[in-house]
Subunit: 334 residues, 2 copies
Amino acid sequence: MLPTIRDVARQAGVSIATVSRVMRESEGVRDATRLRVLTAAAELEYTPSELGRQLAERRHAANGIVFPDLSGPYYAEVVLGYEAVAAELRRSVLILSTHGRSDAETAVRAMAGRCDGLVILGRTVSDAAVLHLASRGTKIVLVARPPIGSVDSVNAENRASARSLTEHLLAEGVRSLRFVGDPDSSPDVAERWSGVRSALRHLGSDHSPELVTVDELSEASGAAVAAAALATGDLPDAFVCANDEVALGLLGRLKVAGVDVPGDVMVTGWDDVMAARYAGLTTVRQPMRDIGATAARLLDELIVHERTDPRHELLPTELVIRSSSSSATPKEPK
Amino acid sequence: MLPTIRDVARQAGVSIATVSRVMRESEGVRDATRLRVLTAAAELEYTPSELGRQLAERRHAANGIVFPDLSGPYYAEVVLGYEAVAAELRRSVLILSTHGRSDAETAVRAMAGRCDGLVILGRTVSDAAVLHLASRGTKIVLVARPPIGSVDSVNAENRASARSLTEHLLAEGVRSLRFVGDPDSSPDVAERWSGVRSALRHLGSDHSPELVTVDELSEASGAAVAAAALATGDLPDAFVCANDEVALGLLGRLKVAGVDVPGDVMVTGWDDVMAARYAGLTTVRQPMRDIGATAARLLDELIVHERTDPRHELLPTELVIRSSSSSATPKEPK
DNA sequence: TTAGCCGATGTAACCGGTTTCAGTAACCGG
DNA sequence: CCGGTTACTGAAACCGGTTACATCGGCTAA
């Protein structure tokens, strides 16, 4: 059994209140007494129980982060940016992946019981559950998801970049365009799809984009879409994919089939993951770490400074043109 | 203020012990009473405080995982595999990245105070600190790090794959070989380096490999190594890199310089991250998720079943030959 | 009828800290 | 020499649960 505050008090010949004061570095303890306590604590190798503290102080000093998956580089980067800031603010970080979990809602609720606040990425939890948690005092920041009520949110800009991307493709001579991704699967995908569609309309194109929905945003899905298109011979001028992994899978399949990219077909992704650079994939870069870091800061404000007016951050993105959509194949050193 | 067990007890007209029994689903409560309690709990929207429970039960129901960084795909995958199993075992997961943190040891110690056990990846914590934590009852599983005392460990096989890799390169006609990575930076790198060296010796090569150390295993480091070699014109037959990111950086720089890979120089990595496939990089695949999952299971055994005999798992790896080291460039669909 | 047992429930002591409030001794100025 | 501060320290109440043990009513068997 580890020593408790009472063991230290006995050993030092003082009361537990005094030990507590010394350990918390509060004022009003005579130096001689402080020394006695510190000596006793050192002898017993005493460390205050975090649990006892938390219960007494009625706080967890911990934040949670809920994400669908960590397998793609996207969420990993967000989590990383989040952890870095949270650690700086001296809070522990609990993680929860909802991927393929049927009891996600329950798990999130359980996690909320162990945290002062949490960050929720994407559509991992229902709106109702978010509001319910918020109403019970859990501080919440939403990421990659439109604001709900007066809950804070952090998002990357999607519509403007969708427009830039569309402009770029039209400038490259693209006339028919096929969007790959399920707008119902995540708010980001929905914005990207509607962004592309409205950009096309506003830019005066007479074509409206096609939509191919996929079950999940994976390389396998992308490859399957490519295979289907190849089988029927029905290739558009450009595939605009909802994320890089789909685009990479699609691109790989096309290349295996000997299709000339970007000559015959162009392909674009979204996120700018590391592999995109090596595959020469045109994409939209998101400030993933910044997103995580911003979420951490917003959450801290909510918890520590008890801010009450909601904030909604929109972080800028950047179009990255590479060989998969450009005749003037730019080289990229480093 | 959220309702407590005493509120529910009052509302239901029973004692807190009965409420506790109902909430814990223990036996020996009459159905009528149970119903009264459940009704009261529902009316008050009562959820037992996890903190109170933890203190009373003297357990955290949480595990920690310490890793240097999450930016590379390697650790992210390990963490993911870990989280999946931990969640299945109904334990929360705390994460801590030590990257660039000077007070890493303190942070780990603080985290240990909030967990029943923790998984430590790589050389993030000193041996002394590990032993100290273990001696105070924290259950520990080491990953990607040689066993310390009787602390459990999970590692990927390095030496045999180093040998396969070396054999492959020799078969491809490589005579001079340069290893890129700092053996002192991590146990894995050390094993890979010594594996390559001893394989070369045993395979009867008259060459001993060169060693180029880098500060960190990043794309930038790899690019710098390539640039330096290009500047002096001193290129080996093959660069064997300690991980994929270094290899990718190096490969990219060589290609920009117009060097023929694998014709003039071969390049290999380690880990088989996603980008490696797109870059055609020969590498050693590690079962990253399995590593995480195995660690989670070992830890659970330590905590729940109180296993005392140490276990050391060694997971198999697989050589993946791609175009960066093979004349017979194999295509890879999917 | 009554001793003995059993199932359902309550009482109270924990778990390991923080914090309020009261008490005590030393020190102050008058 | 004395009342009033002031600076430390300790006793005890709390935080919100779990659980060992006591209690009590009803039932069975002698």
